[in-house]
Symmetry: C2
Amino acid sequence: MKKKSVINDTPVCQIRMQAISDTMSILSGKWKFHIIGTLIEGNKLGFMDLLREIDGIGTKMLSKELQDLEMNQLVNRKVMDTKPITVEYSITEYGATLAPVINEIAKWGIEYRKSIFEADGEQ
Amino acid sequence: MKKKSVINDTPVCQIRMQAISDTMSILSGKWKFHIIGTLIEGNKLGFMDLLREIDGIGTKMLSKELQDLEMNQLVNRKVMDTKPITVEYSITEYGATLAPVINEIAKWGIEYRKSIFEADGEQ
DNA sequence: GAAAGTACTTTCCTATAGGGAACTACCTTA
DNA sequence: TAAGGTAGTTCCCTATAGGAAAGTACTTTC
C-alpha cells in the first residue's frame, strides 16, 4: 500500500493550493506585475506610454501581455476616436484588487535586499 | 529627443519594481510556492514526504527546487544520522516571513474563482 | 513626398523550464 | 539474495517564454 499525503490532503489545503496556482498562472511571466503596477500608478495610458514606462519591454511582449490581462478582466482597452487613433489602457476595478498582493510582494523584496546587504555586506 | 518615462522614473518606483522582480525570481517556477507552503504547514519533512505531499512533482524538480530554496536561505536541509540516512527539510525563520505574501496570493485566487463563478455560472 | 508618430502583428530565433525514465548508492528486512 | 525504502542524479526530450527586427496600416507634420 502506497503512503498518502497527510498535510496537503485536507480540503482547505487543496483549495489554497489551487488558489495559488490560479493567481500565479494569471500573473505569470516577466512583465505582468510591471504592467499592472504601472497602470495602477498611471491611471490611463496609451500603448506607447506603457512601452516607455516599462523599461526593457518590447512591442510584442507588451501587446501579448495586455491581451492576456484584458482577457482576464484585469485591464480595460478602449480605442479612442482621435486623429491618429490612440488606445487607452487602464486598470479595471477588479485589477485594482491586486494592489495588496503587489504590495506584499514588493515589501518582502525590499526586506530581502536589506537582509542580504546586512548579512553579506554586498551591493 | 526621445520621450522619457514619467511614472516609473521616480526612485520609489524603481525600488518597488526591483523588489517585485527580486521576489518573483526567487519564487519563480511551478513548484516553489507549493514546497514553501507545505513546509510551513508540515514543519519537518523528508524528501519522500515532500514527494508524496506535493501532487505531481517528480524527484528531479523537487531536488532542484529545494536546492534553489536552500541557496536563498528559505529552506534548511539537515542530514540526519539515521540507519538509512534521512534528510530533514524545514522552513527557515526567514522563509516563514513569506507567509503573508502567500496568504495574500491565496486570498486573491479564492476571490477570483468566486467572481468567475458568479459572473459566468462556471466552475 | 518624406519623416515621424499612432498601434500593433509577424517571423525567426534561442534559452530555459519542466517532465519521464533510468540509474546510483546505501541500508534493512524477509 | 531479492525486495523495498532512503535520497537523490543524469540523460534525453519537448514545449513555452521571450527577444530582435521587420512589416502593416493609417495620419499628421514639415
